[in-house]
Amino acid sequence: MSLTFLPSYLVRSDALDTLSGKPIGKLRARLTRGENDFPFKVLDTHDEHLRRRGICLVRSGSDLLLWPAAHGPITQYVGKDPVEFVTDLPDGPVRQALGAVPELRSLLPMAQGRMQQVLLALVDTEEKTRARAEFHVLTAQDGSAAIVQPQALRGYDGAYTQLIKALGACGAKTLTEASVIAALNPDHRPYVAKPDLKLGAKTTAYDAATGIIKAYLAVARRNEAGIIADTDIEFLHDYRIALRKIRSVLSLFKDVYKDKQTLALKQQFSDLMALTGRLRDLDVYMQERQFFFDLLPESLHAGLERMFQMFAEERTAQLATLAAHLQSPAYEAEITALINRFDTCHKLRPGPEGDRNAQTYAAKLIWKRYRKICQIAEAIDDQTEDEMVHELRIQCKKLRYLMEFFAPAFPKTAFKSLLKPLKKLQDNLGLFNDYSVQQNSLTAFLDSLGTKDHDRNMQLAQSVGALIAVLHQRQREERLKVVDSFAMFNSKETQQTFRDLFHGGKS
């Protein structure tokens, strides 16, 4: 009987030979090899959400296996169908152990090959088992490794300690420290949506900007295949965020590059993004489907149904266009040229601020932006035009990007204490904006309906009209929170921290 939930380990596959070769203390290892091997696929989301949580999920035939677990892996029968989203899994032990996986992320095969089970028992002179470990030896094309689930046996703590020591001597690491995916595929580079950027004390503004843009160009590229394959909607979302961040570096880091070059680059990135906008909107709609249905009484559902059907069709078309674009030689040439340009800094001349120290430059930019936000916010009360609130939202977003770009240059805790309330404020402003955008685009959708099929369009118009009304109401509710949200964000402490970090303590 095992004592508690024990960690799983990852170890080189030849560790079994080492362990069974010589005695471990006064104990000997007995191996029982499974008779067959089975196909396996390691499943994870593109951003390796499971691996980062120290979980390894494997599909073998119609079963899912999950580590860590108390005994062998946690298993669940899932049948023949592919498993795409964790939320689609029937309830069961694996589903429960997975807990909250980002709903929008699909599970992808990250490595595959054949798998063999080997049981290791440490036995004493009486041939009594004192500790056990279950190995799953995974062999892929370019690498192999074993997942080890040790099992402590009650009353034999000493043997368990020896087992863990022996595993450690073979280089075993817990699944929180080691990546099964990387072990099976040595060339694998994990996808990171928000790369950790280093900022040295002597880094110039030019180098900082170039570094960020390079990093996000790479992020954008890592998302192309998933968009084309329509794996999940987060690929497009991340792709857009990466491009948007690049564009905001170009516009926020004033005078870091030559004016003309900056303008041309901004245009180029805006154009790249423009091709993705409608598809993203449709993705969001499809995602909000249930939300919309819940907003309206059942009598209006038929109209919504039709709207979503039209959206689905439009989405298919948009996706085909974007996929063709991303696979076109012209796009390949353009993006490669951009990457080369930021890699070599060829035809990327520094502007008047380029040689500035990145840190002082950042402090200046952030302070300026913060001041601007305060100015706008001061003018806002419950009567102010919505335009001003939109402006506040945009400025907050810019501030957030600036702060995230330059985070490595500032003290962590102080920085975090600013970001947290800022995020809250942005949540409020974001909802306000989402409701507003949705009203606008639904109105545009209504306008676009032709005169054909008059009766069904009437029904549709009724539903959409009702939806717009509800969204308007929601927007008003968010609008009423803005003044308070801002006050919460801009507390005395926040003001002081901004002064300290970015303005030498002065106001």
């Binding site: 009987m1 508690t4 004493d124 009486e126 041939e127 009594k128 046996l153 009650r154 009353g155």
Partner: protein, 247 residues
Amino acid sequence: MKIIACYSNKGGVGKTATAVNLAYALAAKGQRTLLCDLDPQGASSFYFRVKPSKKLTETKFFEDVERFTKAIRASDFDGLDILPANMTFRDFDVFLSRMRNSRSRLKKALKAVKGDYDVILLDCPPNISTLSENVFSAADGIIVPVIPTTLSQRTYIQLEQFFQANKLPLKKLHAFFSMTQGVKSLHGQTMEDMRKQHKKRFLKTQIAFTSDIERMGVQRAPVMATAPRSQAAQAYGTLHDELMERL
């Protein structure tokens, strides 16, 4: 949680063989089982290859809880733990009462490590006069192997008398015929008599005398694990089913 004692006031009747296989069968059916080896010779520990840890008997400075939880050993079979023969009878008394009391620290400590048990099975040594009363009152059921001989018949009657004298419920007694030999017609006659005399006390299942069970001493594992298809293993399986139905 249930406590089952494997008891007989006569030696060598198959108590340990029964306890070992019953424990195995319980665990195999998913009952978290603790087999307590009360025999100072460590007979059932021997069958599970568990070495008794001698140190623990004397270390009085331990808290009870620690003494008990630390003495328990996992068997090689899932869901089956062994409390090896390293307790004094007095200790064992304490242990039993702690296990009975659901609020005791021992129960809580076991629960905390998911080590609480569904069944505690006691393999009793033949002479436990000092302890027997406590075992009888603590146990939910007492399984009594009886070799169908005239001598055993008398010993069994003594046990029933003891129960009556001490106002213990006879219902707790679940006897069965052990080491029966088909060729000895005397066995058959005795069994018939006893079943009549002690209606309801005897289980239908009997465990025949077989070399498979004798060989357990060499194999050092329950016959149900080493020869699951053997007649002996199947008989122990039925014994388990019948007993559990009764409890």
